[in-house]
C-alpha cells in the first residue's frame, strides 16, 4: 500500500465531495409538487463521500506503509504513448482517421520495442485501412475521412 497516494487520493475525494455538496446547493429546487428535488440525492452522496474520506484519512494514519521492492516503472514509454494518444485525439478530426491511426500505431509499436519497422508499418497500415474500409465503406459509419488536400 502506498501511503502518499492514499493521502492525496483521500484529500481529492474529500474535495470532490465538498464541491458536489456546494454544487448541489446551487441546483434549483423546483420539484413539481414533490418535496424531494433534484438536489437531494447528490447532496447526500457528497456528504457520504466526505465522511468516508475522513474515515480513510484516519485509517491511513494507522497503518504502516508496506513498501515492497519498488519496481522501476517505464515512465518514458508511458508518457510517449500517452502524449501521442492525446495528439491522436486532437488531430483525428482535422487530418482524418486513417493517417492519424497509422501514425499513432507506428509510434506506439516503436516505443514499445524498437526494430522490425516494416512489420510495424504493415500491421499499422492493415489496421487503419481495414477499420476504415470495414466501418465506413461496408457498415456506412462515420469517421473523419481524408484531409481536404488529399481528396
Amino acid at each position: 500500500m502506498n501511503k502518499t497516494f492514499d493521502r492525496i487520493a483521500t484529500l481529492t475525494f474529500l474535495a470532490i465531495g465538498v464541491l458536489f455538496m456546494i454544487g448541489s446547493l446551487r441546483i434549483s429546487k423546483s420539484a413539481y409538487g414533490s418535496v424531494v428535488g433534484p438536489n437531494v440525492f447528490p447532496f447526500l452522496l457528497g456528504l457520504i463521500l466526505v465522511l468516508l474520506s475522513v474515515k480513510l484519512l484516519f485509517e491511513t494514519m494507522r497503518y504502516r506503509s508496506t513498501h515492497g521492492e519498488k519496481q522501476r516503472l517505464q515512465y518514458k514509454k508511458f508518457w510517449t504513448i500517452f502524449i501521442s494518444s492525446i495528439f491522436y485525439a486532437i488531430l483525428l478530426e482535422p487530418i482524418g482517421y486513417v493517417i492519424t491511426t497509422f501514425l499513432f500505431l507506428i509510434i506506439g509499436f516503436q516505443t514499445m520495442e524498437k526494430g522490425s519497422i516494416w512489420k510495424s508499418i504493415i500491421i499499422a497500415a492493415c489496421f487503419s485501412l481495414g477499420v476504415y474500409g470495414l466501418y465506413v465503406k461496408m457498415l456506412q459509419g462515420t469517421l473523419p475521412s481524408w484531409p481536404i488536400w488529399l481528396r
Partner: protein, 505 residues
C-alpha cells in the same frame, strides 16, 4: 417452455449464430491473453458490436449485441484456464486456483487432459447453470414485479453493499468508489425535472458521462497503461500439450468434482458481490476437504482442475440471474453487460421477460448454443489458442488503445469523449494499482439513476418521509440484509479472522 423454444428460434437465426460464435471466439482469446480480463474485453467490444449492429432494428440489435457480449463473458472463463495450465500465469483472476494443479499436470506431460477436463467441466457447469437460470427466471421476476419504488431502492442498496463489502482489501475504499460512481451518475440533465446538474454549461455533459467511455477508459485503457508501466518479462516456456483426449479413469475421477463445482459455483454466482473468483476458490477448498487423498492437491490432481473450472463457469451463469430478473448486476462484468443493454434502451429487470422476451430468452438460448460451440472449439483448437499467448505486447497494447479510441469515437462522434476516455484510463490505472477497486465505481455509475429515481418516487409517495424504507416489510428486510452484509465481515475481521475478498471481478 414455449418461451425457451422461441428463444432458440431467435438464437438459431443465422446472424445470431454468427454473433454467438464471434463472441465465444473473442472471449476465449480474451481469456487466454494475459492482461485483458473479461471486464475490459466486454467493455472494449461494446462499441464494436454497436457499430456492427447499427443496420439492425433496435430490438434485434440489442439481442445480437448482448449475445455477442455474453459470449465474450463466458468464453473468457474457458480461455482463462489455458494460460493457467500451460504457463502458470492465469489469464484472469478466476483461474488462479486452476494454476495450482493445472500447471503441475502440465509439467508431468498431462497438459492435454487438464485442458480437456477444464473444457468439459466448463461445459457441464454452463449447462447446469443455464437450466437453473431457466427454472428460476420466471418465478423470480414475478416476485420482483410486486416491488414498489421503496423495495427497489432497498434491493439496489443491498446490491451495492454486497459488491462493496467483498471488493478489494479496504472496505472504506470500496465504498468511496461506489459513492464516487453514484455521484458521477448525477452529472447531466436530471431525468425527473429536466434541471441541469454539474454541467457548467459544457454541452457535451448534458447527456451525462457516457457509461461506455468511462468503462472502456477505466478497464481497457487502465490495464493497458499498467502493462506499459510495469513491463513484465515472460520467459516461461509453454508446456507441451500432448494427448488431448482424457483417459477414462480421469473422466471418472473428475465427474464428482465437476458436479459439485457446478452447483457450488452457481450458488455463489447468484449472490451479488461474490463472483467467479470466489466460486473457484471455494470449490477447490471443498474438494480438498472431502477428498480421500488431500495430499495430492497441488501436485497435479485432476480434481483440482475440474472443480474450480466448473465453478467459475457456473458462477458466470449464476450471475446472469440477478442481472436479468432483478436488474441488479452482481459484479463488474455484469454491470458492464447491463450498461450495454441500457444503451439499447433495454432495461434489465422483471419487466425484461414481458417487454423484451426475445432479448431475454434469445440470450439464454444462445448461451446453450455458445457453450456447445466452446466445447467444440476448445477441444481441437486448444493448440491454436495456446499460440495466442505468444502475441507480443509490442503490437497488442497500442492496438488496444487504437481500438478503444475507435470504439468511443464511433459511438459518440466527439473528440471530447476521447479525452474523457484517456483521463479515465489514467484514473483507472492510479486507482486500481492503489487498491481502490473499480467494479463498485462502475456499479454505482450504472445503478445511480435507478437508485435516485426509485428513492425520489418512494419519497414523493410518502411526502418526504424517509421512514418509508423501513415501514415497508420487504424493503426493511432487504436493508437489514444489506447492513448484515457489511457488518459480518467487519465483525469477523475484528475477531482476527481473515476474510476472503474478491480482488478482481
Amino acid at each position: 417452455m414455449t418461451f425457451l423454444l422461441d428463444g432458440f428460434q431467435t438464437a438459431l437465426q443465422l446472424h445470431n449464430l454468427f454473433f454467438a460464435f464471434l463472441g465465444v471466439l473473442i472471449g476465449t482469446a480474451v481469456g487466454v491473453l494475459p492482461g485483458i480480463g473479461p471486464m475490459s474485453g466486454v467493455a472494449l467490444l461494446i462499441p464494436v458490436t454497436a457499430s456492427m449492429t447499427s443496420g439492425f432494428e433496435p430490438a434485434q440489435a440489442a439481442t445480437s449485441s448482448i449475445i455477442l457480449l455474453a459470449g465474450v463473458y463466458y468464453g473468457a472463463m474457458y480461455g482463462g484456464s489455458t494460460t493457467s495450465i500451460l504457463l502458470n500465469t492465469p489469464g484472469e483472476s478466476s483461474s488462479v486456483v486452476t494454476a495450482l494443479d493445472g500447471y503441475q499436470m502440465a509439467k508431468q506431460g498431462r497438459a492435454g487432459s487438464a485442458l480437456a477436463i477444464a473444457a468439459i467441466g466448463s461445459f457441464a457447469a454452463g449447462i447446469v447453470s443455464l437450466i437453473a437460470l431457466v427454472l428460476l427466471a420466471e418465478p423470480l421476476s414475478n416476485v420482483a414485479l410486486k416491488f414498489g419504488p421503496a423495495e427497489y431502492f432497498s434491493l439496489m442498496i443491498l446490491g451495492l453493499a454486497a459488491v462493496s463489502g467483498l471488493a478489494g482489501n479496504s472496505m472504506t475504499k470500496a465504498w468511496m468508489m461506489t459513492v464516487f460512481g453514484l455521484l458521477l451518475s448525477t452529472i447531466g440533465l436530471d431525468s425527473v425535472s429536466g434541471v441541469e446538474r454539474f454541467t457548467y454549461n459544457i454541452s457535451f455533459l448534458y447527456g451525462g458521462l457516457e457509461f461506455l467511455t468511462v468503462a472502456v477508459g477505466l478497464f481497457a485503457l487502465g490495464e493497458v497503461f499498467k502493462a506499459i508501466l510495469h513491463k513484465e518479462q515472460n520467459n516461461d516456456r509453454i508446456a507441451k500439450i500432448g494427448r488431448i483426449i482424457p483417459a477414462k479413469e480421469e473422466l471418472k475421477e473428475s465427474a464428482g468434482p465437476i458436479a459439485r463445482g457446478s452447483l457450488l459455483g452457481f450458488l455463489v454466482g447468484i449472490l451479488p458481490g461474490a463472483g467467479a473468483t470466489l466460486a473457484s476458490f471455494f470449490s477447490y477448498m471443498l474438494e480438498k476437504k472431502i477428498s480421500k487423498h488431500p495430499e495430492k492437491f497441488g501436485k497435479g490432481t485432476i480434481a483440482g482442475v475440474a472443480a474450480p473450472e466448473s465453478a467459475n463457469n457456473a458462477a458466470s451463469g449464476g450471475a446472469m440471474i440477478p442481472l436479468l430478473t432483478l436488474g441488479i448486476p452482481g459484479s463488474g462484468t455484469t454491470a458492464i453487460l447491463m450498461g450495454a443493454l441500457m444503451m439499447y434502451n433495454v432495461q434489465p429487470g422483471p419487466l425484461l421477460f414481458d417487454e423484451h422476451p426475445d432479448v431475454a430468452w434469445g440470450l439464454i438460448a444462445s448461451m446453450f448454443i455458445g457453450n456447445v460451440m466452446l466445447l467444440i472449439l476448445n477441444m481441437p483448437l486448444v493448440k491454436i489458442f495456446a499460440k495466442i499467448i505468444e502475441t507480443p505486447p509490442k503490437y497488442l497494447l497500442p492496438l488496444i488503445i487504437a481500438i478503444s479510441i475507435f470504439g468511443v469515437y464511433a459511438v459518440q462522434v466527439t473528440t471530447f469523449d476521447i479525452f474523457l476516455l484517456l483521463g479515465f484510463g489514467v484514473l483507472g490505472y492510479l486507482l486500481a494499482t492503489n487498491d481502490f477497486p473499480l467494479a463498485p465505481l462502475v456499479l454505482g455509475l450504472v445503478l445511480g439513476p435507478m437508485i435516485e429515481n426509485n428513492m425520489r418516487r418512494a419519497l414523493t409517495a410518502s411526502n418526504g418521509d424517509f421512514f418509508v424504507f423501513i415501514e415497508k416489510p420487504i424493503s426493511f428486510v432487504l436493508l437489514i440484509a444489506a447492513i448484515l452484509w457489511i457488518a459480518i465481515p467487519f465483525l469477523m475481521k475484528l475477531k482476527g479472522k481473515s476474510v476472503i475478498v474478491n480482488e478482481d471481478m
